[in-house]
Structures are given as structure tokens and as C-alpha cells.
Point group: C2
Chain length 345, copies 2
Amino acid sequence: MRIIIDAMGGDNAPGEIVAGVLRAARMADMELVLVGRGAEVLEALKEKGVTNLPKGMEIANAEDVVDMHDDPATVIRKRRDSSLVVGLRMLADGKGDAFISAGSTGAVLTAATLIVKRIPGIRRAALAPVLPTAAGKCVLVDCGANAECTPEFLLQFGCMGSFFAQRTLGIEKPRVGLLNIGAEDSKGTDLQRAAYGMLQRLSERGGIHFIGNIEGRDVMLGGADVVVSDGFSGNILLKSIEGTGKFMSDQLKGLFMRNAGTKLAALLCKQGIRDLKRLMDYREVGGTPFLGITKPIVKAHGSSDALAISNAVRQAAEAVSSGLVAAIEENIDLITVPKELEHHA
Amino acid sequence: MRIIIDAMGGDNAPGEIVAGVLRAARMADMELVLVGRGAEVLEALKEKGVTNLPKGMEIANAEDVVDMHDDPATVIRKRRDSSLVVGLRMLADGKGDAFISAGSTGAVLTAATLIVKRIPGIRRAALAPVLPTAAGKCVLVDCGANAECTPEFLLQFGCMGSFFAQRTLGIEKPRVGLLNIGAEDSKGTDLQRAAYGMLQRLSERGGIHFIGNIEGRDVMLGGADVVVSDGFSGNILLKSIEGTGKFMSDQLKGLFMRNAGTKLAALLCKQGIRDLKRLMDYREVGGTPFLGITKPIVKAHGSSDALAISNAVRQAAEAVSSGLVAAIEENIDLITVPKELEHHA
């Protein structure tokens, strides 16, 4: 297996990216290709005490870098020599099995769609982060790639999310829920009502296991294994979970700092606090997979450090072995709605 | 001041409603009118050891009760003798200054709109819960009354929310933020882009202090004093905050129950845990005010107990003294968009 990594994307590139890839290289037997400015990558390796490229690790040169101010729509034209575009072209050309970048989400998504292409029949690629829940883990599709959606997009998100949960989270019959503001099928806007019907029909044909609507409250409490949403609401959900987690952690910190007694308490709870921190730490997950592209692509957090990047490499490797892309391709007829039906949905 | 309370609404009616009103009666000098089945209300009073109605407390008889299965749209016709409809008619007729119910949100909202009426010029009433944040408190408008919104609704929510924050949270110049999936004014859907422009123009004219978009992550971290949203996304935000709060509290409970040492730690942190619990406890807030109706109405949580109800009474009293309704009425020209402009927004 050969994984391509954008060495120049993200706030801590190339240092932490290179460190993360070194870490991943020690864990498993993979070919890892760092794409970026050769001299800077070598310098970063040297800083980690590595003077000869370890076995299985390669550098592919790309002199340009996409920055956060680039318009995603023009990146593949104006930044053809960037690490992002060069890396994605290698992936499209079969010179790798998966791609990772911590660069701008919009740029990675647009360039991936244009260069590596969507799976034929898939209307939109989606961002599918994995969240910790009271029941284990759940996957949220979409969390921001598509602010505006049609019911068919949501149908496809549900199906792709279900395959993803089966194949990479090991859930045999994932419970697919539609993010909504109430339990009844009449809740929400026209989008949710139409998507509800489509997901229900797919479920009756055995394509997925649709459990109906899921409210925001029940996501973290483990109410579904796959949460289907338009990118706008999905983003609000994801970000508010992050913000509330941070708020509660800060409160907890304050609570333990009150006096000598509470400071002692913090010592007594050290292991538990560490576990809770780890549970809420995005770096442990690695990154956010794009679903619907012909090859696995993982978007790592912009502020990724070495730990996050090594986990993103693991995640990309799992996506390759899981056969997720093939599963979506084989089932495309189930989740493609003829144009004329879509408008009457 | 005279406050009307639906004695029969909510999961714990009439027992906890009556207990809450008794509690509120002890705190302040108000006239409190319990509307509902007289015999049941008297029985509930007796259970609390009250055989004579305390001074200032009255019972208004209403033999019917709205239940959770009633269609909100037909309640005022099919349940004319219900505590909800009788209570709201009393409010509309000037026999009280504010109204509280823990009954079905949809029924309270629809009946309030039809009986007590919206403030002329206000397109939609909104639910405006107050949330604890790292910066103190913020008000979210709307959290579910209006799943589908126009930009003008959001403009009005922002303005009403700002008056509300000024007058009942005591924030002199509330920072009004538009819930969105990024900071730039181009983010979101057509709805957010159009609302952004309208809020911006109102801000330039001095009507409010608009600070631009606010992402889900920053709501609990105190990024705004007023968060403007359509009811769908607002509900997702509110519920995911609730769910994440519950998830973190459960994790915390587990953490303290691990062993003898952590149990000791829990004792050492007792006060801090109690404070954190209180901070996240919806009962401390009371209920959710409706903004945009001609008289103050507070929707208490369906599972409200006596503490929640007594706080809802306090909240309703504050809404009356604050002059919020008059403030909205006086500024209605600022926030009414002529029909022809609305469509070009």
C-alpha cells in the first residue's frame, strides 16, 4: 500500500507532517510519499535526526504551496505545481492508494473532485468525521462540504455513511438516522421530509438500516451510528459539540483549581482526566474522510501535529483496506435517483 | 403584576406546577392565577399542605386539557375550554400581564399567535432560550419555532434578541452574531448571505451591534450575546449543546466512580460539581420566552418541576418589568422590510 501525504498543508507544515509520517512509518509496513518542497522536507527530516530517508519513504518534489487565501476554484489552474495538486494527480494516475492533506478544506475538496473525480453516480462528495458517543462512535455525513443539499444528496450520504461505518468502524448493521428537529416524519423542512421518504424506501429494500430522525441531543448520547445531514446543519452540530466539549473541559479545569483539596482531587483523578481528554481529542481520530471520491482521501485538521498526522495515515490505510470505494461503486444503482424523480421527491 | 399559569401543561402537571407557583408566591409580591381543573388544582395545593389559597393566588377554572397528541393548528377550536386556551384568552383580554405554560411547544406557540397575536410588523414569533456561556449568558433566536425562515425573519430575530439581551440580561450593547459555518460574509446558504446584509445595514444605522457570523464552536465559548438563526439550525445547536453537556456529565460521573481515590476526589470537588451542575441545569433558567407576541409568554420545559416553574414565574415577571414588548413596538419600522425589497434581498 502506498499513501501520498501533502507535506506542505496545514499550520504546522512541513515539520509536524514529516514527524507524523515518520511516526506512522514505524508503526506499519507502508510506502509513504511526502509531496512538497524537497529541501524543506529534507530539512524537517534532519531536525528529527533523520539524515537518510527510511525504507519505504519517498519525497516527490512540488515547488508551490496552496495557501489559505487561495480561491479553491482556481487552485488546480493557478497552483498546478503545488503539493496539493501534484499529490492528487499522483493519486489519480495510480501512483498511490490514498491521499492526506491538512490544507484548506475547500481547496482539498475542490481539487480532489476535479482531479481524482467523484464515483460515477455520486452527486457530491461529503466530509464524514467520526465522533465519540456514549455508544462508541458515530459518523456524521456531511459536516460542511455542501451547505445546500437536495434530498438525493442526503440519500447518498446515508448510504455512503453506512458502508463507511460497516467497513471502518466495524458496525455490522449501522443505525442510520436523519438529523432533524423532532421524531415525526413530518418534522423539519421540505429537504428533511423528502430525504426521510427516500431513506425509508432504501431501508425497506435492505440497502441500509434507517431508524428515522435523530435530534441534536441524541447524537452524542449514541442514538445513531450514522447521522445524515446537509453540510450546514452538520457543521453547526459538529462545531457546537466541539465548543461545548471545550467549555465543559474548561469548567472542569477551573473546578480542579479551586483550592488545595480540589488540586488533590485532580491528582486522584489523573488517569480518568487523561482518558476523557483523549476521548475528546480530534487528534486521536486522525482526520475527516471524504466520501464519494474514487480513491480514499483524508482531510487532517489544519492544526494537526505529528500524532494527528500519524493517525490520519492509519485511517487512510484502513480506508484502502476496507474496500469502501468499491462498495459504493457496486451499490450505485440503489442510491441514484433519476433526475425526473428527484424533482418530485 | 398579574401572571397567569397553565396549571395543566407539562409532564408533572398539576402537582409540580402548583408547587412551583407556591414557591414563587413566597419570593415576590405578585398576583398569580392558576388556570386548570379547579378540583385537581385544589387537590395539588392540599398535597402541599395548603388548604386556603394564599393571598394573591387565584384559580381560574378550565375543564379541558391540551395533550401532546393534539394538532397545534386545531387546539384553539377543538380545545376552547382547555387551560391553555382559557389562560391565553385571559392574557389577551388584559386579565394578566404574562403567561406561562409547560405544555406542547407547538400548541402554545400557535395558540399564542392566534389569541394574543404578534406585534404588528413582526413576521414570526421566535423561541429565545438563554444559554450559559464562557462569557456569561447568551440568547439564541430562534431555536425551533420556525424551521423555514426568510432573511427578514432573521433580521427581526436579531433585533428582538438584542432588545431582550439588553433588557433582561442587562447587556448594554449586545453583540449580535449570525449562526453560520464560517466567518466570511459569503459563507452559508442564500438565507445567511441575505440576512448578513440586512443585519449589517441595521447595525450601520445603529439599531443593533452586529458582529458578523458566529460558528457553532464559539457559541458556548461566549462569542456573541445574541445568536441569530433559523429555527432548524438553532434547534440543532441547542440540542447538541444539551446532549454534549449530558455526555460530558456522564463521563465525569464515571470518572469519579472509578475507585476509592476518585470517590474521595468527588467529595473534595463537591461544591464545584454542584456549581457546574447548576450552570448546566435548564431549571435554573426557568423557560424559553417567545419573542414577538404582544404580551410576554414563557414556555417552560415539558418536564419542569417546582424549581423550574418558580424560575419561569420570575422570568415572566422580569419580561413584564423590562418593557421588552414596548421596545420592539417602538422600533418596528427599523426591522420591517417592505415586501418588494424582501424578495430582492
